[in-house]
Amino acid sequence: MATNQFGDLDKKTLTQIYQLMVKSRVLEERLIKIYRAGESYFWIGGPGEEAWGVPLGLLARKGQGPAFDFFHLHYRCTPTLLSLGLTMVDSIRLMMNRATDPSTGGRNFSNHYCFPQWNVAPVTSPLEVQYPIACGTAHVQKRLGKKSITIVTGGDAGTAEGDFASSLILASRKGQELPMLITVQNNKWGISTSYEGQHGETNIADRAKAFNIKSRVINGNDPVETYIALKEDMEYIRNTGKPAFIEAHVSRLYGHSSASGANPVQNEIDPVKEFEQRLLKAKVITDDEAKKTWADFEAEGIRATEQARSEAVPTAESVWDHTYAQNENADWRKF
């Protein structure tokens, strides 16, 4: 095997990354099909972010509570979630707003995951709020001193929000630096508004430099480059207790969301196909293995859809549930 083009990554890791990337793509395409079939109201997700998101999930210290890494993700994070252990059926339950959806119980959109057992903070629709919230979990981790870190992700257009700057400032105060991996997935779009024309900075990552934050731009469509960069930066953060910043250039392969049609785009790099070709060429995987990988996940997706379809939906009476902790009454009619 030609290890030099894959860094130090062994065959097992490369295959694992590949499998998860394919799984993520198949799952997202399944979600889009569910939307098209009229079985869901809205789709948004991460086709084009597999090469970035899979290594991120694999490299983190997974667990619950501040001794483990925290994730504050945006709505293109299926690849990361699958790497953490998300099952297809749980993603589809969210897509089909079933009562069995473990993230939101049928209350929120696709890709708005929440898994406390892996410290996955709830994905929110309001852009960029995850950045200052992430500073809070990092603050607690710093106090605990277990070398756990907080990871935050978001889009390029959203960096115009003040919350993005808030996190750079909070994470970099001298003597009070926070153990955070602050990242941006730059797909060069904010819905229909292109990156060009909205930015004066050369790279978004340059903004982190102004705060003395270790910062770099990577090709987020290359899972090997991503894996190596993430590994280095996570180690740097654990060792120094200081933040690091990564701007990853990624693709957006089905447009913004179902609101813009969720149709495949032709002129952007497909990181899954590209990585597959590399692995085939280097004989890390065979043609048959590749075909089987796609087919197996496809079958799993169909089974998961049938499963979710058969499950209960939220009841009307449940609207008040979990307004307050321990289901304390929050309805003024009953005060």
Binding site: C114, P116, P132, T137, T150, S166, I169, H322
Partner: protein, 351 residues
């Protein structure tokens, strides 16, 4: 007798010693100042945040998410408005996650007029806060309640908003906080930071004890038969004064200190109105879509056939700001004489 700023300080101290409160933070909250109203002087866990309200609320949410207790201060409620979507998210996180992530955090912020604070040191927030589903919202009118409500907020598993009427921060109450020295000069010597160099100063805390005011429980501060007046915060004291004055003329005014805006004590209001048949709601937030309107609506629809007079709301005028000149401020937020004349008017109404 402690003033409200000292009561808040003692509650925070009690919580950092007994409730594992880990962070008290906000603008100028840490040393050397200890808060612009001195409410956080001498605390072990107090620290200065960046000058960034969204950063403060966001961090509080993250701290709560990671399992620690914190109290975050917004220096004046006038500057909380740019955090409203974060406050909404804090309130809906438990609900959106179907019960998975509760955020036990307390935000405290000084509210209201009464100190000639002009346009941007006079805003109220009670009506706005009442629309933040998932939050509990309280507003004390005296130091002992401030102590007890703040402790209840810190213990509560939900996000809690503690609105402190800034005009009352230096006002003393009528009741000692359990463990507080009887002589207020002693208390001052123990817990007020000296003027000048404070670098070596440490608070000497009295052996204060737990005292909890349950969220959602009102208190009758004046008993009466003829009319119910429901208020909270600064205006509660004005209502008490008016009730006392009118007593000399033979009026019998019942005053209820609501103390909690949400959840609120409907049973206390209902029982009182069933007795009096007349009711006035008083607060200083602007009067269009005011919290008193909600209560007034509820009285009207649920107790209609028990009413002897139309229920009324006295609140701030719906003007863009509280002007600095006393003529402007006094004509914008409810004054004592207005409370008095409305009470007379409602009592005079014949069905």
């Amino acid at each position: 007798m402690a003033n409200m700023a000292q009561a808040i300080r003692m509650a925070l101290h009690y919580a950092e010693k007994n409730y594992q409160l880990k962070d008290v933070f906000g603008q100028d909250v840490g040393a050397p100042l200890g808060g612009v109203f001195t409410a956080t002087q001498g605390l072990e866990t107090a620290w200065n945040s960046t000058l960034d309200e969204r950063g403060i609320i966001g961090m509080a949410m993250g701290i709560a998410m990671a399992g620690d207790r914190c109290v975050a201060e917004i220096q004046f409620a006038d500057y909380i408005f740019n955090t409203i979507d974060l406050l909404k998210i804090a309130g809906n996180t438990l609900w959106c996650t179907n019960g998975q992530y509760n955020l036990p955090l307390t935000v405290m912020t000084p509210v209201g007029a009464g100190i000639r604070g002009s346009v941007y040191h006079s805003h109220s927030f009670d009506a706005w806060a009442s629309r933040l589903a998932g939050w509990k919202v309280v507003m004390p009118s005296n130091p002992l309640d401030a102590y007890g409500l703040l402790l209840s907020c810190i213990l509560d598993p939900n996000p809690c908003m503690f609105l402190n009427p800034k005009a009352l921060m230096r006002v003393r109450g009528e009741d000692l906080i359990p463990g507080e020295p009887a002589d207020e000069r002693d208390l001052k010597n123990l817990i007020d930071a000296p003027i000048g160099d404070r670098s070596k100063w440490k608070a000497k805390w009295p052996a204060i004890q737990e005292h909890l005011v349950p969220i959602g429980k009102a208190k009758i501060t004046r008993e009466g038969q003829q009319i119910t007046v429901v208020s909270y915060g600064r205006h509660l004291l004005l209502c008490n004064e008016v009730a006392d004055q009118l007593k000399a003329e033979g009026y019998s005014v019942e005053v209820i200190d609501l103390r909690s805006i949400y959840p609120y004590d409907w049973q206390a209001i209902k029982n009182s109105v069933l007795k009096t048949g007349r009711v006035l709601f008083v607060n200083e937030d602007t009067d269009v879509t005011n919290f008193g309107e909600h209560l007034c609506y509820r009285v009207t629809t649920e107790l209609f056939y028990h009413l002897m007079a139309a229920p009324k709301v006295l609140a701030g005028k719906n003007v863009p700001g509280i002007g600095l000149h006393p003529h402007l401020e006094d004509n914008s937020v409810p004054q004592k004489h207005e409370i008095e004349s409305l009470i007379r008017e409602i009592c005079a109404e014949v069905p």
